[in-house]
């Protein structure tokens, strides 16, 4: 059913039809509306779930860890400082192979205090053993949650999933969203059947001391599961399309890529603005396209190479920055191309940090600059007078 709802509500509704047993979170802008909507659904008896408003994000992550360890389907949502505070637990969740879902309403990280959007928060945890998905709009983020549970709960995978959506830009925007009915959700997502769980009849220990003799093997197994997750993500996207008719690409998605010579690469809501920019540039005869990255972990290196290998130039537009190095996304794309004979010229560019608007004009300017010469480690719309 099509409804005109806020992005946070789209997430809450998308999560609710997955019938989580436990929802736990701590208020933080711009995530709060998500769990507020969920708490309403629980309080009104629409969602049969335990909702716990805990004393910190550390507590929230710990509660969902416990719930998943006990065999429950669990959900939390956070952003920025809250995600950082969850950090220690995030590693424990993946280390224990607990397939829960956390939504991150992506936001910049302090100091200085900034509540607006970029991807600095999520990118901190790219090494934490979480499958990381990025949504472009509210329909996609609504649909991503049921897919996230299905991917993570696939028994061979058993890994947590982080669903990323741009704070404010998506969380607070109203868009028409075709919401998934409970019946369709139940058909698509089977009940959670964990590989291991805490059970009095069959006692076991989770997360005990991992001595040097076998800690390394636990990392190997997570790495293997991560690599195996890629075909599962693709399969789930396909099944979703068959059932619901909606398709966003699987791990990546192209826009006007066929004859493109210069290609933007980006994640999240900025892809919408880029598509509009491309249309305008195309009207002027420019051969330009977009490669949208939907999944950052596991990293879709082969798929990216395949999509970009024949292109002349690539503009990686990043909303995060590894201070002292470069962009996380562009570095990994460059690394992926290391062993290939043909590689495009790649420009790493940083835009929109801390919520700075990225306009079509800036994007078109960037395109023309890159068309002239490579722009590496370039800050889009940097105010020279302030630095």
């Amino acid at each position: 059913m099509k409804e005109f709802i806020e992005g946070s509500m789209a997430v809450a509704r998308g999560v609710a039809v997955c019938r989580p047993h436990v929802v736990s979170a701590y208020p933080i802008t711009p995530q709060t509306h998500i769990v507020e909507h969920l708490s309403e659904l629980v309080a009104d008896g629409i969602l049969d779930s335990q909702f716990i408003n805990v004393e910190s994000e550390f507590g929230a992550a710990s509660v969902v860890l416990g719930a998943a360890a006990a065999g429950g389907r669990a959900f939390s949502a956070t952003t920025s400082q809250g995600l950082l505070l969850m950090g220690e637990v995030l590693y424990n969740i993946s280390g224990m192979r607990l397939p829960l879902v956390i939504t991150v309403a992506n936001r910049a990280v302090s100091a200085p205090i900034n509540i607006w959007n970029d991807h600095s928060d999520a990118m901190v945890f790219r090494d934490a053993g979480w499958i990381m998905l990025f949504a472009e709009d509210n329909q996609e983020v609504h649909d991503m949650h049921i897919q996230a549970y299905k991917i993570g709960e696939t028994r061979e995978i058993s890994l947590p999933v982080m669903v990323n959506m741009d704070g404010f830009i998506l969380t607070h925007a109203y868009e028409p969203v075709d919401t998934i009915s409970q019946k369709d959700a139940d058909d698509f997502l089977p009940p959670f059947d964990p590989v291991v769980k805490l059970d009095v009849d069959n006692p076991l220990t989770m997360g005990p001391l991992g001595e040097p003799q076998w800690y390394l093997e636990t990392r190997y197994r997570i790495q293997q599961a991560m690599l195996e997750a890629k075909p599962v993500v693709k399969q789930v996207a396909k099944e979703f399309k068959e059932k619901f008719g909606r398709w966003y690409g699987d791990v990546i998605d192209g826009y006007r890529m066929d004859d493109a010579e210069i290609v933007y690469v980006a994640m999240g809501s900025i892809c919408g603005t880029i598509k509009d920019t491309i249309d305008e540039l195309r009207d002027k005869g420019e051969k330009v396209g977009l490669l949208k990255i939907r999944m950052f972990r596991p990293f879709p290196g082969e798929e990216i190479i395949d999509a970009l290998k024949d292109k002349q130039k690539v503009i990686v537009l990043e909303k995060a920055l590894s201070l002292g190095a470069s962009g996380m996304l562009s570095d990994e794309i460059k690394a992926a191309f290391y062993a290939t004979p043909h590689r495009p010229e790649i420009s790493s560019t940083f835009a929109g940090l801390g919520g700075r608007d990225i306009s079509k004009t800036s994007l078109a300017d960037l395109y023309h600059k890159v068309k002239g010469e490579r722009q590496d480690n370039m800050f889009v719309d940097l105010k020279e007078e302030l630095v």
Binding site: P27, S39, E40, D44, S56, I113
Partner: protein, 291 residues
């Protein structure tokens, strides 16, 4: 001679940071006023003050105050203040926290600072809800009251902050309300003079969220309620438990002596033959650094 109001003016970043972000009628401004007036009474040199806050409506206070200010992460004001106090034991360190910020996510720092009895004056604005993020219930939201995350009533029970502070080792605890602004000033003044971990709980109104969700009316009505329901602890002693049921006990509720942390630390250094930190005179500054 400068009047209290000019001194207060001197304590504010009046030209740079106003207007403030608080809702019209919010009690936090009254708490800030009481704090600044008590500091003016004590003639505290503003360059010798460090005001630390976390995130939340209350956490905005240091933005407006012209001290050395440290605006930190949510819940961590007291932890940061502890670091400041240990590094600069001669400075006056004030932590301003809210109920969500100071007692939920920062609850651990609160009890451990109290246990150490470190000389920090904690101004705890209790409006019983998370204001900045939109009215979620907090650790001081009363049982059965409404929050945006408890639309049919809170099933959890609130902290008694006084008992929490006492039980954890604080040496001074007082409670006031934003209706009783003069009393609040007196209580804060005493807390500032106390050598040790002191807490002033300031009952405040968040009419925008708590008041609206719980149908407690406008700012004026909520503050009126404080007027009618606050009772001085000394007066309350003479009343029966039934008579004080549901009332807010105000005034100085706890005041004991216990060795203070940084002093003990200095003594330990001396005993072991080390050099105590030198007395530092605060530098005269034209203008304090903003947040």
């Amino acid at each position: 001679m400068s009047t209290a109001s000019t001194i207060v003016y001197n304590y504010l970043r009046s030209k740079k940071k106003f207007p403030h972000v608080w809702c019209p009628g919010c009690g936090i401004g009254i708490v800030m006023g009481a704090l600044l007036r008590s500091m003016a009474d004590l003639e505290i040199d503003k360059n010798n003050v460090v005001m630390v806050s976390g995130i939340g409506c209350t956490g905005r206070m240091p933005v407006y105050c012209d001290f050395n200010t440290l605006h930190t992460t949510h819940g961590r004001a007291i932890a940061f203040a502890t670091g400041v106090k240990i590094a600069k034991p001669n400075m006056k360190v004030i932590a301003v926290v809210g109920d969500g910020d100071g007692l939920a996510i920062g609850g651990n720092h609160f009890i451990h600072a109290a246990r150490r009895n470190i000389d920090i004056t904690t101004i705890l604005v209790n409006n019983r809800i998370y204001g900045m993020t939109g009215g979620q219930y907090s650790p001081t939201t009363p049982w059965q009251k409404i929050g945006s995350t408890a639309p049919h009533g809170n099933v959890e029970h609130p902290f008694d902050i006084c008992d929490l502070a006492k039980g954890s080792g604080a040496t001074y605890f007082a409670r006031g309300t934003v209706y009783h602004a003069t009393q609040l000033q007196v209580l804060i003044k005493a807390a500032l003079q106390k050598k040790g971990f002191s807490v002033v709980e300031c009952i405040s109104n968040c009419h925008t969220l708590y008041g609206r969700l719980n149908r407690e009316g406008s700012a004026v009505k909520m503050i009126q309620w404080m007027k009618e329901n606050a009772i001085n602890a000394k007066v309350a002693e003479k009343k029966s438990p039934e008579e004080i049921e549901g009332k807010i006990l105000t005034g100085e509720l706890w005041n004991i002596e216990r060795p203070e942390y940084t002093e003990q630390y200095e003594r330990l250094i001396e005993r072991l033959g080390g050099k105590p930190p030198a007395e530092e005179k605060p530098e005269e500054k034209e203008e304090a650094v903003t947040q």
